[in-house]
């Protein structure tokens, strides 16, 4: 099972429908949008079948029966000042207004999007010329522009349509240009260029499909507005010409008799309201469904603390490790016992962390090593309830911080610990620092969140923190904004912020992965020095065994949500007992050993929503047999603080 073809086969298997709900389901979940859709569908159906309904001619005048009230015999909605049937005029008028509104939207969408895509894609001078033109159109009050167009072309429904469409082109062009600029610099556009595609092909087949959702969203929110504008022009007598009925002209005619026959204006007014409201509700719904950020739940407000529901796992017979507290014998400051964190997406349960136990001693640096998806970052975030909920839930385990279980604490207590006794350092300081505040202000905020000190004192402290992390000229640098600092300097600020309240524990999640090697070396040295000077404990999450050997006292290796091997850095690196650890160390080229063959690990890690019954590594392991696949494997103590989750651990002879 170790040839590359098997790799492909293994990954080919779990092809099932997406765990996310379908677009229609998402839309139906939004009740207001559903209501809008139902009303709009009703109006459209009626408008479509109007020619076949048994209605009187909308333009047939009957002066004898003028201004009849609604619900009169033969005229359900009454008649207007010329005795024409209002119901018939309303339905025919709705038909016209809908047709004009939708065609104007389509017209504006096609031309506006074309301008937007072209100027966003080509940029430079093309962009300048097109966008300045659009700016000029936007600079006119829209109604004045529409009036000017109608005045030039003469009144009439078609001319009103053109006017409204032209007035709305800038709106589309601006929106679409913004999106296109973001897409035009993506790598797949360059790739298409190298594949021999010309500009027109790239625009039509690469860019357009990616901006389509935005075009649809923009359209769905503008159709209602267009209907209103059409009604507005007709109301002014510039749109539909008598005797043709449309909602705006009906309203205009009714206005003159508003004191004597209110229904003449109330009925078309009501229809306009109904139509525009339903379109807007539906449009909002469509926008929510198509917007990827809304889809992923990124805009849903996460709970301040991850949801904790330990009722399920407390009793069932999970394999708990005999000796969860293999540690260095140092007094543990953090002790994690059987931590389990799950994510529920649709019908799938992703067991990101499936029973992790470890401890960090005072002034110790423990490394948590694993590949992406191994659960190392989720473990780190779970410690202080920072996993976003929904969809994350902590379903089991305890996190003992100085003798107290974090998950039993109140929200306010957990908040006091975050950035206080335990602080995080993240991978990308550019996205964790606020771009609009100076780094000094952000440090002050971190200090004042936990201590009642004056701004001035906090600022002095902030400067001394920056000095502590060896930022040159800390007095001046405190006034800089994150974008003015280099990556290494930003990470120093991130570390300074973590140090702000003299934490006992720093949880560092890949703090050097985004940095250049020379800068990484500086940061590692800095963290090592701080640890010696301040007696801080560190939980260091990384994928790099080189970094581990540089900074960690002990290491835990994670695979598919579990710790598969734990021990001192020397034990794990010199005598790895788990085949995964061994292969993970061996598959990285090493400096100065270019002739060594790089042994790839075949296959991929298992998906954590579909874990095998036995050892998760068995499929990729050349030592595995049926016993490995039979059932869960417990963490086995090898003595001297070394533990491995393997039935056939590697001995000294083949390590």
């Amino acid at each position: 099972m170790s040839n590359p073809a098997a790799t492909a086969k293994m990954a080919a298997k779990p092809r099932k429908s997406s765990a996310r709900p379908s677009a229609f389901k998402l839309l139906a979940r939004n009740h207001l949008a559903l209501l809008g859709a139902v009303i709009l569908a009703g109006v459209i159906i009626v408008a479509l079948i109007t020619p076949w309904l048994p209605l009187t001619d909308p333009d047939a005048t009957d002066p004898a029966n003028r201004l009849l009230r609604p619900l009169t015999d033969g005229h359900f909605l009454g008649t207007d000042h010329l005795g024409r049937d209002l119901l018939s005029r309303l339905l025919w008028g709705t038909r016209v207004s809908l047709a004009v509104g939708i065609s104007a939207s389509l017209f504006a969408a096609v031309f506006g999007s074309a301008i937007g895509i072209i100027s966003g894609y080509f940029g430079g001078r093309t962009d300048n010329v097109l966008m300045r033109g659009i700016d000029m159109v936007m600079a006119f009050p829209y109604i004045l522009l529409a009036l000017a167009i109608v005045a030039a072309l003469g009144p009439g429904l078609m001319n009103a349509l053109y006017a409204i469409a032209v007035v709305n082109i800038p709106f589309f062009a601006r929106n679409i240009r913004g999106v296109t600029v973001g897409i035009a610099h993506r790598e797949f556009v360059d790739a298409a260029r190298l594949s021999g595609k010309g500009h027109i092909r790239i625009l039509l087949s690469e860019i357009l499909p990616n901006v389509m959702p935005v075009i649809v969203i923009t359209m769905s929110t503008t159709v209602g507005w267009m209907i209103l504008e059409t009604a507005g022009l007709s109301f002014l007598g510039l749109g539909a010409q008598p005797p043709q009925a449309d909602l705006g002209s009906m309203l205009g005619e009714g206005r003159k008799l508003i004191t004597t026959a209110l229904h003449l204006s109330a009925i078309p007014g009501g229809m306009i309201f109904l139509l525009v409201m339903s379109i807007n509700l539906l449009g909002d719904g469509i926008r929510d469904v198509l917007d990827p950020r809304l889809k992923s739940g990124a805009l849903a407000r996460p709970a301040p603390v991850t949801r904790i529901d330990r009722s399920k796992t407390m009793t069932n017979g999970n394999v708990t490790d005999a000796n969860p507290n293999i540690n260095s014998g140092r007094d543990p400051i953090l002790s994690v016992e059987d931590l389990r964190t799950e994510f529920v997406l649709g019908d799938d349960v992703y067991k990101a962390v499936g029973g992790v136990s470890f401890s960090v001693g005072r002034n110790e640096c423990v490394g948590l090593v694993g590949e992406s998806g191994s659960g190392k970052s989720v473990t780190a975030l779970s410690l202080l309830g920072l996993v976003a909920s929904p969809p994350g839930t902590i379903v089991g385990g305890r996190v003992m911080l100085e003798g107290r279980d974090v998950f039993d604490m109140r929200e306010s207590e957990i908040r006091a610990i975050r950035g206080g006794r335990a602080a995080y350092v993240f991978q990308d300081p550019l996205s964790t620092l606020h771009p609009l505040f100076s780094v000094g202000d952000q440090l002050v905020e971190a200090i004042r969140a936990h201590n009642r000190v004056s701004y001035k004192d906090a600022w002095a402290k902030a400067v001394s923190l920056l000095r502590m992390v060896r930022i040159p000229n800390p007095e001046q640098r405190a006034d800089s904004y994150p974008h003015q600092l280099s990556g290494g300097m930003r990470q120093r600020v991130g570390i300074a912020m973590a140090l702000a309240n003299e934490p006992e524990l720093i949880i560092a999640d890949e703090p050097t992965t985004a940095l250049d090697v020379t800068v990484q070396a500086q940061i590692l040295k800095l963290m090592n020095n701080l640890r010696t000077e301040h007696g801080t404990s560190v939980l260091f999450i990384t994928h790099d065994f080189g970094v581990v050997s540089e900074i960690c006292d002990r290491v835990a290796v994670m695979y598919a949500g579990q710790i598969v091997e734990m021990g001192t850095t020397q034990q794990v690196l010199q005598q790895p007992a788990h085949p995964y650890t061994k292969r993970l160390i061996d598959c990285v080229p090493r400096l100065g050993e270019a002739k060594r063959d790089v042994a790839a690990i075949p296959g991929l890690p298992p998906a954590v929503n579909n874990l095998p019954a036995g050892c998760a590594f068995a499929e990729r392991c050349d030592r595995a047999d049926d016993t490995c696949r039979a059932g869960a494997v417990a963490l086995d103590d090898l003595g001297a603080g070394h533990a491995v989750r393997c039935l056939k651990p590697m001995g000294g002879e083949d390590a």
């Binding site: 790598e187 797949f188 790739a191 021999g196 087949s205 499909p209 290494g488 020379t518 990484q520 050997s549």
Partner: protein, 325 residues
């Protein structure tokens, strides 16, 4: 030298510059400040450097995605600019590119089949059954099953997506492939799979690679010759392991000392909080002088030059290591 397939002479790329509407001068930044490299047929040239050293800009110029501001590139003796203006397809048939981020280099709304068909249709004029056969052959080359053709990029893992990226480059049947950090976005266990695949393909199709990376150990493992870039220039170049065994340029030394190695402790770290020079206001002399422990007065006045031949070991440094001791 007839076997040189790609060569650059004093290649420069400046961003910005020009004049504003009111005739003020716009600031300009030199991303690449005069690079001479040459690649022989069938070899792998490794280019190492940290972020901001201009290695990606260099790569984009080599494949024609960006035009040099000065200097020239020749492909088998033909100037790249001539090739580009005559027929950009001809260039794409000779040089292809593999992107760093495998997922974002695939259009999220297109099937792999459509993505891979593009170079076959437009560069190799295949259609119908020939196209289908070639698609399956390509998938086989990169060890992916043909069913994967009818999937969308988001259904792939990083390593699989990078194989698709490699297949797309192979589709054009190029002589040279520029690999811009092809494994740095991948997990370590998958990195090795992709590196081995690249090695197999090179032997099988007689390809020439330009392998760009920030990772010294990866470059060492794959390259026949290595060039180290700093601040837009090549500062050291050598064949084989020479550069790793006995670096001449202090920057190379620093890079080697900074890379953590599993099982070893005690990195050599520079004392100062050294940073790259400000690209808006480059130092007059050697760009590395402000960080360099061996820098002397001459380093700060004049830019050191070096004669980078094909197989010699040369460093652009007035006081190279090894010479002093």
């Amino acid at each position: 030298m007839p076997d040189i397939v790609l060569q650059t002479r004093d290649l420069v790329r400046v961003f910005g510059g020009g004049r504003t509407l009111f005739m003020g001068k716009k600031p300009s930044v030199y991303a690449v400040r005069g690079v001479d490299i040459a690649v022989r047929k069938g070899e792998t040239l490794g280019v190492v450097g940290e972020s901001g050293c201009g290695k990606s800009t260099l790569a984009r110029m080599l494949v024609g995605l960006d035009r040099p501001s000065a200097g020239d590139v020749t492909v088998s003796g033909e100037p790249l600019n001539d090739l580009l203006s005559r027929d950009r397809h001809a260039l794409s048939r000779r040089i292809q590119y593999v992107f760093q981020d495998p997922i974002s280099s695939l259009n999220p709304r297109k099937l792999i089949r459509e993505t891979l068909s593009a170079p076959l249709c437009y560069l190799r004029n295949l259609s119908g059954q020939a196209l289908t056969d070639r698609l399956e052959e390509l998938m086989d080359c990169v060890n992916l099953r043909p069913e994967f053709l009818d999937r969308y990029p988001h259904e792939f893992s990083g390593g699989q997506a990078q194989r698709v990226g490699i297949a797309r480059a192979l589709a054009a049947e190029p002589e040279i492939i520029v690999l811009d950090e092809p494994v740095s976005a991948l997990d370590v266990s998958v990195q090795a799979q992709v590196l081995n695949l690249l090695d197999d393909l090179k032997k099988r199709f007689g390809l020439t690679y330009i392998f760009i990376s920030h990772d010294l150990s990866v470059v060492e493992a794959v390259s026949d010759r290595v060039a180290v870039m700093y601040f837009g220039r090549v500062v050291e170049q050598a064949a084989g392991q020479a550069l790793f065994v006995a670096p001449r340029h202090p920057y190379t030394r620093l890079l080697l000392d900074s890379a953590p190695v599993p099982g070893k402790r005690g990195l050599q770290v520079e004392d100062a909080n050294a940073e790259l020079p400000d690209p808006m206001a480059p130092p007059p002399g050697c760009a590395f002088a402000p960080r360099c422990p061996y820098a002397q007065n001459d380093c700060r006045k004049k830019v050191p030059e070096a004669d980078f031949g094909m197989d010699n070991h040369a460093a652009a440094c007035f006081h190279p290591l090894g010479a002093m001791t």
